[in-house]
């Protein structure tokens, strides 16, 4: 049996959550005061994911850089792999919101897309 402690991000309350796990399976969530805490805890201990955002250099556009993000959630453990792969990436203007900047970044199966128009 293994215990993980988390702080719920559902609201300003920030309930201290305790998750009991057995072999990677959630046995119980305690400390939460509402359902949101339970859902958050189960996801966070089994499959924590994040959206990664950054910006990359644009050449020939009206701005020096364009903001980008992973199109979907990626595993939390891949964040720095993604940043490494973004290093040195340069794109040519024009760039539009939704344009794929890098596909299948760091083997996640998720694309990096532009989040801004740079013309």
């Amino acid at each position: 049996m293994e215990t993980r402690e988390l702080i719920c991000i559902g609201c300003p309350m920030g309930c201290p959550l305790k998750v009991e796990m057995d072999n990677g399976e959630v046995v119980s969530v305690t400390g939460n005061t509402c359902k949101r805490g339970d859902v958050y805890a189960r996801k966070e201990v089994t499959n924590p994911t994040r959206i990664v955002t950054s910006s990359v250099i644009v050449e020939g556009g009206s701005l020096a850089a364009v903001s980008v993000k992973t199109k979907e959630d990626i595993p939390k453990g891949k964040i720095f792999d993604i940043m490494k792969q973004l290093k040195g990436v340069k794109v040519q203007a024009p760039v539009h919101i939704g344009d794929v900047i890098l596909s299948d970044v760091a083997g996640t199966g998720v694309d990096i897309i532009a989040t801004k128009n740079v013309l």
Binding site: S54, S55, A65, K84, L86, K87, G88
Partner: protein, 478 residues
């Protein structure tokens, strides 16, 4: 080979350089910082003292009154901001009125014009926010305020236009006599000169003591200040001093020529000649004392606090003149308050000393006037529209707090001894000097500096040396 090397491009050095540029002399100013006006001259009370403070008969008193009398005309010739707002020394205790009288008498002896002791009634008329405790005041209508950067820069620019050479980032490390001449050793190599003017501010004792056996001792006396937002404009219109008493010296509350309110200084003797850090105690002291002479001072409107170092010589006197035991070495030392006020007179005195020693001829090509950076706010809307048509950069506001345009910033960079850093731009144009303290404009000013100087933005510094704003590009270390 120069005729004169001036150590220091503060206000004394720059004023001396400008006055020397009237003559056919080969003059060079060496400055350890990247710009003029980087030491004592940039962080002080910005006051033109009427001249009642200094001991009667002292050089300090003489040059103070002379400088004060020269200021208005000079500010027109060299186009810097000066305002004759008058000053008040406020007496808070009935029993101290004799001290007020003493100050008055000294002022009269020093040659200060139009001094008057006024009663509370008149004082309240002049300054409605004066403390309820105030019983009387010494009123000096000749007192004024000045932009210290503006004056220093104006002297230097005018000197440069008249042929004075300025070497920045050049720190003097040694002085040696070579025959009748001096060898000035610097971080950028040796410079030979016939005469040396020591206008090194808090370091003036260091250079003096290198060449003379009669030692000087200068203590950096730190003064903390708080600068309040321009929204406080009009809170006081005169410079308000507290009459020094057994209750302490107090701090001054003064408008600045740009509409801010300045509170300060503290007076703390320190060792470190670069110790321009403010301290919690210093700021607390200002906040506590600021309400003594005036009531309801909006101290929460503070936009910045800073500290300057006065070059306090033990004898509290200006030491200006050729050293007896080091011929050709001219001191301009111990220049503390009222040094800024005295600067025009100091410059004149130094130049006269050098002229007498060299028998230099006047340079008929000398141009005594200088135009400052054009401030579009002084124009009518029609004139401003015409200016923007001619140069669209004047239509682009970069500093939103002080409403400074790209045109003014480019002018500051391109003119003689132009700005190289953010602080250089700030001192010349006020961009970044407002309530957001450059949060908004600094990235934009960096861009303009880089473009106009033809360098990469990462080369742009706050104030020279290692004061870089940008240290790399994203992800360069991952």
């Amino acid at each position: 080979m120069y005729d004169v090397v001036i150590i220091g491009a503060g206000v004394s050095g720059a004023a001396s350089a400008r006055e020397l540029s009237r003559y056919k002399l080969n003059v060079c100013v060496v400055e350890k910082e990247e710009d003029v006006c980087c030491g004592t001259s940039k962080a002080n009370s910005a006051i033109v003292h009427a001249g009642f403070d200094a001991a009667a008969g002292s050089l300090m008193a003489k040059l103070n009154v002379e400088g004060s009398q020269m200021m208005e005309e000079l500010s027109k010739e060299l186009d810097f901001h000066y305002k004759n707002n008058g000053s008040l020394v406020v007496c808070l205790h009935e029993e101290e009125k004799p001290n007020l009288q003493e100050l008055y008498d000294r002022g009269v002896k020093n040659g200060v014009k139009d001094l008057r002791i006024i009663d509370r009634e008149e004082l309240v008329k002049l300054e409605p926010n004066i403390s309820d405790e105030a019983v009387a005041a010494l009123y000096a209508p000749t007192g004024g305020i000045v932009c210290p950067f503006g004056m220093n820069i104006a002297f230097a620019e005018n000197a440069a236009v008249n042929g004075v050479e300025f070497k920045f980032d050049t720190e003097v490390t040694g002085l040696e006599k070579k025959g009748d001449n001096w060898v000035v050793k610097t971080s950028q190599g040796e410079i030979e000169t016939r005469y040396v003017v020591n206008a090194a501010g808090v370091y003036a004792d260091k250079f003096h003591n290198m060449v003379s056996d009669k030692k000087l001792h200068i203590t950096p006396r730190r003064g903390d200040y708080c600068l309040l937002d321009r929204s406080t404009e009009g809170f006081v219109t005169h410079t308000i001093f507290q009459l020094p008493s057994k209750f302490g010296k107090g701090v001054l509350v003064s408008p600045t020529v740009h509409g801010n309110t300045l509170v300060g200084p503290t007076a703390i003797d320190i060792e470190n000649k670069e110790g321009t850090n403010t301290t919690q105690e210093g700021i607390d002291e200002l906040i506590n004392k600021a309400g003594t002479t005036v009531k309801g001072l909006p101290i929460r409107q503070v936009i910045t606090s800073f500290a300057g170092l006065r070059a306090h010589e033990d004898g509290h006197e200006f030491y200006i003149g050729e050293l007896e035991d080091a011929k050709g070495f001219i001191d301009c030392a111990g220049i503390e308050s009222p040094g800024l006020t005295s600067a025009p007179a100091i410059g004149k005195m130094v130049a006269e000393i050098v002229k007498d020693l060299t028998n230099a001829e006047e340079d008929p090509g000398f141009v005594g006037t200088r135009k400052g950076i054009l401030d579009p706010k002084t124009l009518s809307n029609e004139e401003r529209a015409a200016l923007i048509k001619e140069n669209p950069a004047y239509g682009n506001i970069i500093c939103r707090c002080e409403m400074i345009t790209e045109g003014e910033i480019i002018d500051a960079i391109k003119r003689p001894l132009g700005a190289k850093s953010l602080d250089g731009v700030k001192r010349r144009t006020r961009a970044g000097m407002g309530r957001c303290q450059s949060g908004f404009c600094s990235p934009r000013t960096i861009e303009i500096l880089a473009r106009e100087r033809g360098v990469d933005p990462s080369e742009i510094t706050k104030s020279g040396g290692n004061s870089k704003i940008i240290v790399g590009i994203n992800k360069d270390r991952i």
